[in-house]
């Protein structure tokens, strides 16, 4: 099967999945008992108000017709208007997206570095106390979800040893020269390292909370995969060449052990992105997730719809990228 066919097939299933998400979001909001319009209005609104707002959102039409109108709008980039902010949903969502992306990628980076280092160390020192310690730490990290890690980190580094910020994305009094919302990236490009440090000191704890469970999963999967690879004949043969154990692990075993780990890490990364919703809330970090919870509390349905769909796009996008990376990295697929 060629690489191109793989890509096309994956794009097709991605499209189907996204369509499914759109349908479910749409119907959950409209079909589930409860009148969303009544919820949007303050108590004491008249029937007339409700009727007017219903017409405004096209809710008086039949449900398939509503879906048609809404779907056509979505395809043209029109996600409707936020009820609370009275701004286009798409613009609001895209303005918050960079903050969430930076946080997720930072967390992924930490998880890959820590998890990878743990897996390599555990493999290098296998069957020693160190490997046992890594396994126990990994088990602990996995049994507790990101929300609780966040709270524990707040206690440890916000109260007991207040060395990091525990709320916000950046110190509000700072003068920000940024033109995009990718603050961290832009501060690096502009070489404003003072701002980079301030951003990181805000982002570190939320990123760590998200990274701890993922790091444990990476360590576990990669170590298992390395362990299996280390028994293979080509690794044994490489040992007879006089290479050091570290080099054998790094050059011979790791590239082959990475491949099976990659797919699983992709799925886990989407879970991490899902976790940003509550972690951003916990750390008052101004990203998409925080906005989503505000939207829910304010019953801002158009905004909620937009955010959920954007998250679904990110999720399926990550899965797609992982599948394509797998195909690109696997020599069998590349040259088959």
């Amino acid at each position: 099967m060629g690489l191109l066919r793989t890509i096309l097939l994956r794009l097709l299933t991605t499209a189907i999945t996204l369509f499914g998400v759109a349908v479910i979001v749409f119907f959950v909001i409209r079909v589930v008992p409860g009148n969303p319009i009544a919820m949007m209005l303050p108590p004491g609104a008249t029937d007339e108000d409700i009727a007017r707002l219903t017409a405004l959102y096209g809710l008086d039409k039949s449900i398939p017709a509503q879906f048609w109108i809404w779907g056509a709008g979505v395809l043209q980039g029109d996600f409707g208007t936020s009820i609370t902010a009275r701004q286009p949903v798409l613009a609001m969502v895209l303005a918050r997206l960079p903050a969430t992306l930076e946080l997720s990628v930072l967390a992924l980076l930490i998880a890959v570095l820590v998890g990878g280092a743990a897996a390599l160390t555990g493999t290098r020192l296998r069957q020693t106390k160190v490997e046992g310690g890594i396994d126990i730490a990994g088990g602990m990290a996995l049994s507790v979800p990101d929300f609780l890690w966040g709270l524990l980190l707040i206690l440890a580094f916000g109260v007991l040893m207040p060395i990091f910020h525990i709320s916000g994305r950046v110190t509000p009094s700072l003068d920000l020269p940024f033109v995009t919302n990718f603050y961290l990236v832009e501060s690096l490009i502009r070489l404003r390292l003072d701002l980079t440090l301030d951003l990181l000191s805000h982002m570190l704890l939320p990123a760590l909370s998200l990274a701890i469970p993922l790091a444990a999963i990476i360590a576990q999967l990669l170590k298992q995969s390395l362990k299996e690879t280390m028994h293979l004949d080509y690794v044994t043969l490489a040992r007879t060449h006089g290479y050091s154990e570290a080099r054998v692990i790094w050059r011979e075993a790791l590239p082959n052990a990475l491949l099976p780990t990659l797919t699983l890490v992709g799925v886990q990364f989407t879970f991490l992105i899902g976790g940003t919703v509550i972690i951003e809330r916990l750390f008052s970090y101004e990203g998409l997730g925080n906005m989503a919870i505000d939207a829910v509390i304010n019953r801002d349905l158009p905004l909620i719809q937009g955010i959920v769909i954007l998250f679904a796009v990110i999720f399926t996008g990550v899965n797609l990228v992982v599948d394509l990376m797998y195909a690109a990295l696997n020599p069998r697929l590349r040259h088959g």
């Binding site: 004949d233 043969l237 490489a238 007879t240 060449h241 006089g242 290479y243 050091s244 082959n256 088959g336």
Partner: protein
């Protein structure tokens, strides 16, 4: 002149039974010695002990492995590794699993020359290309750019043989190098190894369960049973008349050397019992 001398080597599973019991054998420079025994006799374990690739669950209890006058077991691990890497090589059993699937053939072959022996990249590349030509691979330059899965099993075994000779080692351990191959390919590969050995003058420890192979390529052989050497002889003398009853039985069980019409002769039970008693096994 003895190049490799294994003396009273005893190896066991950690907290388990012994796998090799006081094994001794010598390989002279340029000599081809067969190491024969049934599966489980411990013949591969000897090769692994020499090359320092024993599984982690296995430990050396006592003995010496003297390579070129130096006892490898007394060296610090790093020094031992480099010494073995520079002077010894392994031709593995299964060519399908012995090449790294994610790396091109070229770097897999040249890395050790550059990293361990300090050759220049260009020299290493030229050397490897010559060797591939020597093992009769057509278009070596192309093969060096390919991945293992693009090559046949026979091709891969040739590459592994060429790779074993790449650093001009003084000793090569061939661990059943033809067992995993097609019968038709087996003969060619055997001839190839014998030819390469003769041209390069490398000592060869040929691990096999096939006495027919031994008669074709070896000058001397050690017969192993249950982790113990039961006979050590020159090939000619051995096939003329083995001294040990187990060897004799093993020879009788090899079809080529008996009347083909008589069929296969299993090793007689009384011989097994006698040998077991002798080596103190079960």
């Amino acid at each position: 002149m003895t190049y490799l001398s294994v003396r009273d080597l005893t190896v066991r599973l950690k907290d388990g039974p012994a796998l090799l019991r006081s094994v001794s054998l010598d390989v002279a420079a340029g000599e081809v010695r067969g190491l024969v025994g049934e599966s489980g006799a411990g013949k591969s374990m000897i090769g692994k002990a020499i090359l320092g690739i024993l599984p982690r669950a296995v430990e050396v209890v006592s003995g010496q492995i003297v390579l070129d006058g130096v006892d490898l077991l007394t060296l610090p691990p790093a020094e031992r590794r480099v010494r073995v890497g520079a002077t010894c090589a392994l031709i593995p059993q299964d060519p399908l699993t012995a090449l790294n699937p994610s790396r091109r053939i070229g770097p897999q072959m040249t890395d050790r020359l550059v990293d361990i022996l300090g050759w220049s990249r260009a020299n290493a590349a030229a050397r490897v290309q010559d060797l591939l030509a020597e093992v009769q691979i057509v278009d070596p330059a192309r093969v060096l750019r390919q991945y293992p899965h693009e090559l046949s099993g026979g091709m891969r075994q040739r590459i592994l043989i060429a790779s074993a000779f790449a650093a001009e080692p003084r000793l090569i351990v061939a661990d059943e190098p033809t067992t995993a191959l097609d019968v038709t390919v087996q003969k060619q590969i055997l001839k190839l190894i014998a030819g390469m050995q003769a041209r390069h003058g490398t000592a060869l420890l040929f691990v096999t369960h096939d006495l027919g192979v031994v008669s074709k390529v070896c000058q001397s052989l050690s017969v192993l049973y249950a982790g113990k050497v039961v006979e050590d002889a020159a090939v000619r003398a051995f096939f003329a008349g083995p001294k040990h009853p187990y060897s004799a039985a093993l020879l009788a069980a090899t079809p080529k050397y008996t009347d083909p019409d008589a069929g296969l002769q299993p090793v007689p039970a009384d011989v097994i019992a006698a040998v077991r008693a002798e080596v103190g096994h079960g």
